[in-house]
Amino acid sequence: MTKTALSVLTVLATIVVIWYLAVAPMNIRVALDQAARAGAEIEPPSAVERRNVPILTLMSNNRDHIAAGYDLDRPRLPTPMQVGEELWKTTGAMVLKGRTWSKRSLIYHGWITLQSTFWGFLLGTTIGIVGAIAIVQSRVIEMSVMPWAIISQAIPIVALAPMIIVLSSQVGIEGRGFPKALISSYLCFFPVLVGMVKGLRSPTAEQLDLLKTYSASGVQRFLKLRMPASLPYLFTSLKIGIAAALVGAIIGELPTGAISGLGARILIGDQFGTPLAIWAALFAAAILAGVLVTLLDRTQHVLLRRMGMRS
C-alpha cells in the first residue's frame, strides 16, 4: 500500500515538474509580446519577426523575460499554481465571502452539472438493469437488442447531442436539464447493461441445479440467486457508468450554448479568451469525477461486506 502510494506520488511529482518546465516555452511568445508592449527591449523587436524565430532561440535571446511567462493573465499554459489559485478563488473563497451560489462560483456550476449527471445516471442505470434482465430472460430480445446496444456506443453521441436539445425544446420541455440527462444516460447505460448481463449469468450450473432441488420457482431463482450474484458486477459497472454520465453531462453542455454547468464554463472560457477559467472548470470536473467514483467504491465495499461477499 505505502509502496503504491510512494510510486503514485513520484509519478505525480514528475508530471508537475514537467508541467512547470513546459510553461516557459509555451508562454514565451505571449510574455514577449506583453513585454514589448510595455516598452522593454526584445530581440527581435517586432512581433511579425518573432513569429518565424524558433522558441528556443527566443528563450535564449530574452532570458530576462522567461520568468514573466509564469505570471500571465491569459497564458497559453497556466502553471499548476495559477490553476490552483483560480480554483480556490471560484470555490473556497466564494464560500468564505458567503457567495457560494453566485454565478461566478464553480460550486454553483458543479451543482448544475451534478444534477444532470445524477438524473442521467439514474435513467441510464435503470435502462441498463431492466435491459439486462430482459436480455437474460428472453433470447429474442437478446438477439434483437444486443447488437444495437453495441452499435449505439459506436455512434458518436456528440453528433446527436444538438438534435436531442432541439427536439426536446420543440416538444415543449423547458430548460436543459432533461436533454442533458438524456445524453448522459446514453453514455451511462451501456457499461451497466453489459456488466449486469455478465453478473446475472454468473451463477454456475451447480448453483442453479441446487435451487432446482429446492423446487424454487423462476422468480425465486432470479431474486435469491441471480440478483445477489450480480451485485459485484453491478457495482463495477456503476463506477464506470457514473464517470460516463459525468462525461455525458459535460458533452451535453458543450455544443449547445449552455450558460450554467462546468461544460458551459469551458465554453464561456473559450469564447471570452480566459484560459484560467477553462483549466479551473476542467480540474473541478476531474475532482467531481474522483469524488463520485470514490463514493460508489466505498458503498460497494460496505454493502458487499455486509452481504458476506469479499470485496
Binding site: 452499435i151 459506436a154 458518436p156 458543450l254 476531474a286
Partner: protein
C-alpha cells in the same frame, strides 16, 4: 392514421418473425443472427416514419427517415468532404498517433515495476475523466484545422490504450517467462514472442474503447472552431440554419463511420487473438 396502423402491423409481424426465427432450430446460424437485429432496426425506422407522417411533424423539428435518405443521396459530395476532414484527417490520424504513443510508452514503463505501480492508478483515473473538455485548449494551441482535432483524439485515445497495454503486459505468469528463459530468449525476444501476443486481448480492449472515443473527440473539437467543413461544423451550423435533414444525414454518416471503425478493429482483433477463449465461443 393509416401510417400508425401500418407501423403497428409491421411491428407485430416483425416481432412474430423474430420470435419464430430465434426459437427455430436455425437460431445459431449466421443468417438468423444478422436477420433478427436488422428486422428490429427496421421496425424502429418504420415507427419513426409513421410517427412523423401521422402527427405531421415539421421537417424543421424531426424529418422522416425517407427525407433524410433523400438528402443523404443528394449531398454525397458535401458529406464526403466532411467525412474526409473529420474522420480520415482528424480522427484516424489522431487515433494512430495516440494508440502508437500509448503502446510505446506502455512497453517503456513496463520495464520499471515502480513506474507501473504509480502510473496504473493515475492512468485509470485520467481515463475516466471528461477529457473532451480540453478541446478548446488544444484548438487554441494547434489552430482551427485538423491538427487540433487529431491532438484532442490523441489525448483521448492515449490513456485507455496505455492502461490496458500495461495491464496486458503483466498477464504472462512466471511459468511462461521461465520457459522462455530456458529457451535462452532475451528481453526483446520474450517481449515479441510471448508478452505482446499475450497482451493482445487487453490491447484490443483499449483500442475498441479508443475507437468510440476518437470520433467523439474529433467532432467536439470542431464545435470550438474549424475550417468551413467537417461533420461537427456542419452539424452546429445546420442546427442554426434549420437544415435539420442535413444534420441527420451527417449523423447517419457519423453512425456509419463509428460502427465501421469499431467493426474493423473488432475484426482485426478476431484475426489476431483467435486463440483467446472469448473468440472461440
Amino acid at each position: 392514421m393509416n401510417w400508425l396502423i401500418f407501423a403497428l402491423a409491421f411491428w407485430l409481424a416483425a416481432w412474430a418473425a423474430n420470435v419464430t426465427m430465434a426459437r427455430s432450430k436455425w437460431s445459431d446460424t449466421a443468417l438468423v443472427r444478422y436477420a433478427v437485429p436488422i428486422i428490429f432496426g427496421m421496425t424502429l425506422l418504420v415507427a419513426w416514419e409513421a410517427l412523423v407522417h401521422s402527427f405531421n411533424v415539421s421537417a424543421a423539428i424531426l424529418p422522416a427517415p425517407s427525407a433524410v435518405a433523400d438528402t443523404f443521396a443528394n449531398s454525397t459530395g458535401l458529406l464526403w468532404v466532411d467525412f474526409k476532414q473529420t474522420v480520415l484527417k482528424g480522427a484516424l490520424s489522431g487515433y494512430f498517433i495516440g494508440a502508437g504513443a500509448a503502446f510505446v510508452m506502455a512497453v517503456l514503463i513496463d520495464r520499471s515495476p515502480f513506474l507501473t505501480r504509480g502510473l496504473l492508478p493515475i492512468g485509470n483515473f485520467v481515463a475516466a475523466l471528461p477529457i473532451v473538455g480540453i478541446a478548446p485548449i488544444l484548438v487554441s494551441w494547434f489552430g482551427f484545422d485538423w491538427q487540433s482535432k487529431a491532438a484532442v483524439v490523441v489525448v483521448m485515445v492515449f490513456f485507455p490504450v496505455l492502461v490496458n497495454t500495461v495491464q496486458g503486459l503483466r498477464e504472462t505468469d512466471a511459468m511462461l517467462r521461465d520457459l522462455m528463459k530456458t529457451y535462452a530468449a532475451g528481453y526483446f525476444k520474450t517481449l515479441w514472442k510471448l508478452r505482446i501476443p499475450a497482451a493482445m486481448p487487453f490491447i484490443f480492449n483499449g483500442l475498441k474503447v479508443g475507437a468510440t472515443l476518437a470520433l467523439i473527440g474529433a467532432i467536439v473539437a470542431e464545435y470550438f472552431g474549424s475550417p468551413t467543413r467537417g461533420m461537427g461544423f456542419r452539424i452546429s451550423t445546420g442546427v442554426g440554419s434549420l437544415s435539420i435533414d442535413l444534420v441527420w444525414a451527417e449523423i447517419a454518416v457519423a453512425a456509419l463511420a463509428g460502427t465501421m471503425f469499431y467493426g474493423v478493429v473488432a475484426w482485426i482483433e478476431k484475426k489476431v487473438t483467435f486463440w483467446h477463449p472469448s473468440q472461440r465461443g
